[in-house]
């Protein structure tokens, strides 16, 4: 389950893309974890995430979750929920981490993002490093913006063909970049897609079409 690891982008672009994940450990501390995970989601939600979700329920862009998403995610939450929040600045992540630390919930917390930035705000315990994409890379999309957008959903539910189609629609004036990003975000089932970053990338992609 390495779905937040493979995000592509320049260092500057990744400065606007951090994912905070909270979960219990199966067989260790999952019994009775639901209220602690719920508390963590409330903390995440306080600091302006651009997307939230539970890997087992869906994201705030899921149909039916757009109104009062936090309440709905909390209602459906359980001991094995895996809550995510996506942030566009490290300062917000720092506030989330500080509050999670103070709350002492005992749940595992993982931050996906630039290591040099993250290690400046809290001591790292274990890391998952990304060494890049190996193998037949000629099978990847031609435009780097498509790759950057698609890898914001590690489960590969944002299709490269859909990204190109939506970019064409933006170019023709049928939809706005924001609307395109929202459709893309609705494909990502766990809420780790960054729609704010996607808007910028769609605008860049449109320039190339």
């Amino acid at each position: 389950m390495t779905h937040t690891l493979h995000r592509q982008g320049t260092y500057e672009e990744l400065k606007e893309d951090f994912v905070v994940l909270v979960m219990s450990a199966k067989g260790f501390n999952d019994p009775g974890a639901a209220p602690k995970l719920g508390e963590a989601l409330k903390i995440i939600s306080k600091y302006g995430p651009v997307n939230i979700g539970d890997m087992t329920q869906g994201s705030m862009y899921r149909a039916g979750f757009r109104i009062k998403p936090v309440e709905r995610l909390l209602k459906g939450g359980h001991d094995r929920s895996i809550y995510h929040g996506v942030f566009t600045d490290l300062e917000a992540v720092k506030k989330v981490v500080d509050e999670l630390k103070a709350a002492d919930l005992g749940m595992s917390v993982v931050i996906s993002g630039l290591y040099d930035e993250v290690k400046n705000i809290i001591r790292p315990h274990t890391v998952n490093l990304f060494l890049g994409i190996w193998g037949k890379t000629e099978l990847l999309p031609k435009h780097e913006e498509v790759l950057k957008i698609c890898t914001m959903c590690g489960h590969q539910f944002v299709s490269r063909n859909l990204v190109m189609k939506l970019a064409q629609d933006v170019k023709r004036g049928r939809i706005s970049p924001e609307e395109a990003a929202e459709v893309m975000a609705s494909c990502c089932s766990c809420g780790i897609f960054n729609p704010v970053r996607a808007v910028k990338l769609v605008k860049q992609l449109v320039q190339k079409l």
């Binding site: 450990a25 199966k26 501390n29 005992g106 274990t126 490093l129 990304f130 060494l131 193998g135």
Partner: protein, 247 residues
């Protein structure tokens, strides 16, 4: 996945949503309709779940009624479905995300997370998963809770358990294994070599504990083989309890 030709009006709405490009518009008997390529379809259900056909022509088969190969595709594509065979959800395990509690990875150990077929819907045949697993098997211990290990390969040899599955096309498969810090450079070199022989892409990840000075232990391995890590990582920040400790 099945698209009912009697309902489909070939509006093409669903076509771009498919991550693997498995939906095509075909002409038959004087009319056009959308058809799913069974080989290319990975049962991710994005067409059904998100595209939302205006004519309700997309008709998924519930997983419990699927033949085994299609169920295999479904569970390797789903982010959340719980495998009946293993009781686990998702394509991989908790790996390092709960390592502050489980202690699955210790100092002196390096974990491998080889995401085959990712990103962008490239997908992977089981034969290519087998190629990688066979190559690294002598030097690693495969993660026993991982679906690839549980369902596809023999963890001792890396060979596929059922040869009839070799040609099955999956959205992705995460090979999870670990080895000692001393053997890790050799494993990385093997993965680098075998990645040139597979007809897919591999998103390569390493798991490592972090030394008190903030340096991931895996950097020692990477220096030996001349490979640099990307600047973004997944970072477990050690808030879980009962805590395994910093050492």
């Amino acid at each position: 996945m099945y698209i009912n030709p009697d309902r489909c009006v070939a509006c093409t709405h669903c076509v771009p949503y498919c991550p693997t490009g498995a939906i095509q518009i075909v002409s038959e008997g004087g009319r056009n309709y959308a058809k799913v390529d069974d080989d290319r379809c990975v049962e991710c259900w994005i067409c059904y779940r998100v595209a939302r056909c205006p004519k309700d022509a997309i008709e998924p088969t519930p997983p419990e009624k699927m033949p085994f190969v299609r169920r295999l595709k479904f569970f390797f594509a789903s982010a959340t479905a719980v495998w009946p065979e293993t009781g686990m959800a998702g394509r991989g395990t908790e790996e390092m995300k709960t390592n502050d509690v489980t202690g699955r990875f210790r100092f002196g150990e390096i974990g491998f997370a080889l995401d085959m077929g990712r990103p962008t819907g490239v997908g992977v045949r089981v034969s290519d998963v087998e190629k990688v697993c066979k190559a690294i098997a002598p030097y690693v211990t495969f993660e026993i809770e991982n679906p690839v290990t549980k369902l596809l390969i023999d963890p001792k040899t890396g060979e596929v358990r059922n040869p009839e599955l070799r040609n099955v096309y999956l959205l992705s498969a995460v090979v999870e294994a670990k080895t000692s810090k001393e053997l890790a450079p050799k494993v990385l070199e093997i993965v680098r070599d075998v990645s040139k022989e597979v007809n897919t892409v591999i998103s390569v990840g390493l798991v490592s504990r972090v030394k008190p000075d903030g340096e991931p232990e895996a950097y020692e391995v990477l220096r030996q083989v001349g490979i640099e890590a990307k600047p973004n990582m997944k970072v477990n920040i050690g808030l879980g309890k009962p805590f395994v400790g910093w050492e």
